[in-house]
């Protein structure tokens, strides 16, 4: 039990960050993390060697994906531009806040599979191999999704993405 506390507790802030970046809603994201921790506790004997981070991200990612599927079936709208101002540091200057919010909005327009790869690699510092394990895909697919995610996000940032980007339609169609 002490092991669990020592190994898992330091990862909680990163799990919250990943969940929030995926679902864009603070309460929903923390609910996902709570589910993830409950599962980690009850499946603790499945964790084998060393670093628990890939294992925890795997649990969290699968919970998030299931929720996406459920909510798209139930017909709930997935917020893509509801960035909450409280989500950002109080002392951050307004301009910076807007810039951050803007890039997160653009990130939200990426297809979910590309977004997940970009977040795990670029923000959560998982290795390409661990990212492949978390998403249960070959490492070659990680690399191609990473490449597409970066190109796509850059188009969004440069404002060269085609007028009504396909994936916005895709996300909206989840209604």
């Amino acid at each position: 039990m002490n092991d669990m506390l020592r190994l898992v507790e330091p990862v909680i802030p990163a799990l919250r960050r990943y969940a929030r970046a995926l679902v864009r809603d603070r309460a929903a994201a923390d609910d996902l993390v709570q589910d993830c921790l409950e599962r980690a506790i009850s499946h603790w004997n499945q964790l084998r060697e060393g670093d628990p981070r890939p294992w925890l991200f795997t649990i969290l990612h699968n919970l998030a994906v299931n929720q996406f599927r459920r909510s798209s079936r139930r017909g709930r709208h997935i917020a893509i531009d509801e960035a909450n101002e409280d989500d950002f540091g109080q002392d951050a200057v307004q301009e910076q806040k807007l810039m951050y919010q803007d890039v997160l909005d653009k990130l939200a327009r990426l297809p979910e599979d590309q977004r997940a790869v970009l977040l795990l690699v670029a923000v959560e510092d998982l290795s390409y191999a661990d990212t492949a394990r978390v998403l249960d895909i070959p490492i070659g697919t990680v690399m191609s999704r990473l490449s597409r995610a970066r190109e796509r996000l850059q188009q969004e940032i440069d404002g060269t993405a085609d007028g009504a980007p396909k994936n916005v339609v895709q996300l909206r169609s989840m209604k």
Binding site: R17, L37, Q46, V103, S127, M143, Q154
Partner: protein
Amino acid sequence: MSSRPITEDDLHGYVDGVLEPERVADVAAYLEDHPDMNRRVAAFSDQRDLLRRALAPIAEEAVPSQLDLAGMIRSRQRRASPVWWAIAAMLLLSIGGLGGWVMRGSLQTSPAGLAALAQEAADSYHVYAPDRVRPVEMRASDSAQLVQWMSNRLKQQVKLPDLTGSGYRLMGGRLIATSHGPAAMFMYDDDHGDRLVVLTRPMASEQSAPMAPHSGGDVAGFAWADGGMGYSLMGQAAADTLKPIANEVRRQARSI
């Protein structure tokens, strides 16, 4: 500079800072000669920095009490406290007593041989595989001790099947009481958390028998006997998934 061509993966590795130092130098030299690529890679790096900075405040927030891990662990331990274990044990005993009375007529026709072994494996699966707290008595980390203990109790050299080649890792094992004496149960799981059990014990009848499919409730698998020892592998996976694993267990057991 090495002669290996720079790949798209190298460029991403460069952005993510995961390349070997020599490769970093190769990529840097390449970028110097290719201003277009250089701009693209620089844009990707900026993107990465921006994302990290935009998301950093979330990780710096105080963790809400909803996510108090120590509290979550404590409340789970309370749920699994000795009192509950005692109540569960009493329930099991009384169900067992009642069941024994109700089932007294059918005992005479209880299965023997491989069918009995397969039934014991299926029963063990039903009882222990759903257990999230203590599915095994001894964990894989004590596997040497586990094998020693099983071998002593079964009075036979027990061999621990290694199923990593089939994607299943040993979780550990426990001793099972059967009407034919003690049996050794080993439990495995795969990356999805799907579990399977392998049960083995000495056989009084059917000292040697070919592998045959068996099922019990919602679990299915195979049973066979070799040189006086019976084996049964049970799980919820499809038969064509379990068959090669059963073959592998048999192959390893024969190579003692």
